[in-house]
Homo-oligomer: 310 residues x 2
């Protein structure tokens, strides 16, 4: 078996991006950290780190770190089992998961909080777009991710979780400016008002314009606000119109009133939970909690749009 | 003067990361985009893009893009001036700014929304840690940034904006578990409860433990929730204790009750607005709005901690 101390040194350097920071975290000298990693590289006959201003793992280093993470998870489960079936007396155990921004606070954290407290799990949430998320799952940096992609990675499963439903919202004042004579939203006026967009990969506004107005690749002014609270505050402050998850609309007591621009015109996005096919027990429990939380919060899986989303 | 169409092609490729996406945005053929960029590279005698799966600007390309952005901004101001002193009839104008996550929704967007509507400014908000933020300012990708760093970059000013004050918050249940006999928070019990941390660069929890308990580099379990809504939801759901900005505490009507762990024990962080020394008028107006909004929302600049923060 590989040497635990050498693997820990590798993980610390990869996590902190430098030998110095890793040495401080491990309470070792710089030379000791460097020696452990050189020994591991000689043992495996492969470079594991790319030295530079920011030290990064090589592909071989990444594979090793992913392996070490899975082994640690299995060991933690084994120890919890040996200590009498519950995790009550055991140490905290970290589980990394990647979640889209709109899901994290709205249903994921409330859905898994009780499990985390009961089993002493520490959640390391990664919020990123799904392209990066899938890379993170492939590299073993996360044990699961919420994504709109339906195709599972090799060695993983992709379970449909349900539909996140978005509605086009604005302040009453912005809504009024989008209306033509007769109070109906006119596409021309709508496109003259800025949209609030999460980031350049956020395709929900385009999906709304295509699905409900037949507009493809329209030009319109855009604000970018790449954080959930900033995004919704920008709409509340009248900067523009934007696609807000129905779930968030139900969770904003005391916030300024927003109006639906085109009542009933939703954009539905089907979400999937991607996770390893062979999961250690703690990851299995997390998968069950995710399934349960999504089942309660999301609409049943219908024919959702596969649009990239926040 | 440089050719406008060539610069636009460069900007589009750099923004979208590919020639194909740039061609679609500009409604040009791939060959036309490629030709324009080659012509620009030959004219300047420098490579401007690194070709690859994700096309990126070279340092020379970045310098050119930054120049083009400043020229566009100056032109837009010039045109607005020629059209009679107001921007009412003019086109929308994009201003990129980098803001720390805790400031964006809490005071920045409400503080600049009216200005943006009046002068037809489109806000491109970048939310990132301050290391990246300063690079973005240096490259001219943003025209200003909010940061805790006091030293201005070359050609820039750093104005103190005021103090963001953080308090250590938890659910009543988590707070109870941190208390020893007599109801006082015991450092030992506190460190046995997980903290909720924004990301690995978030130093506020460490600053709190150092300033109020004299604990340096303590070990304690951590959850990571790198988004404001996810961070505060994790605390509300009882996952652990964490440092919440006073400003956010005042803006959460209808949310679950949180309790201050050590009443009065704040961590104060002094924020600065970094901006170009020679600003075009639209950027000057933004700087004035930022100054005014911070003056109203933040505590007066005292002796803040220079801790990295969300």
């Amino acid at each position: 078996m590989l040497d635990r101390r050498q693997l820990e040194a590798l993980a610390a350097v990869a996590e902190h991006g430098s030998f110095g920071a890793a040495a401080r975290t491990l309470s070792l000298t710089l030379a000791a950290v460097s020696l452990r990693i050189k020994a591991l590289e000689q043992h495996l006959g492969r470079r594991l780190l790319v030295r530079g201003k920011q030290v990064r793992p090589t592909p071989a280093g990444e594979a090793l770190l992913s392996h070490a993470k899975q082994v640690r998870l299995m060991e933690a489960d084994l120890l919890a089992g040996l200590q009498g079936g519950t995790a009550a007396g055991s140490r905290w155990q970290a589980l990394s998961v990647a979640i889209n921004a709109d899901s994290a606070a709205a249903w994921f954290i409330p859905g898994v909080a009780a499990l985390a407290a009961r089993h002493r799990l520490l959640l390391e949430i990664v919020i990123d777009d799904q392209d990066h998320t899938h890379d993170a799952l492939k590299r073993g940096e996360v044990i699961g991710c919420v994504s709109t992609l339906a195709t599972p990675l090799r060695g993983c499963l992709a379970e449909p979780l349900g539909v996140m439903r978005y509605r086009c919202m604005a302040t009453p004042e912005v809504a009024r400016r989008c209306q033509g004579p007769g109070g109906r939203v006119s596409p021309h006026r709508l496109l003259a008002q800025p949209a609030v967009i999460f980031n350049r990969k956020d395709a929900l506004q385009d999906a709304f314009l295509a699905q409900h107005f037949g507009l493809h690749q329209p030009h319109y002014p855009r604000h970018f606000a790449p954080a959930v609270d900033a995004f919704e505050t920008a709409i509340e402050q009248g900067l523009g119109w934007g696609m807000v998850p129905e779930l968030h609309l139900a969770q904003r007591p005391g916030r300024p009133a927003l109006q639906e621009l085109l009542p009933g015109a939703t954009v539905d996005v089907l979400l999937y939970w991607h996770h390893w096919e062979r999961e250690p027990p703690s990851a299995q429990r997390l998968t069950q909690a995710v399934r349960r939380a999504a089942g309660q919060a999301l609409a049943p899986a219908g024919a959702g749009t596969a649009a990239a989303l926040p």
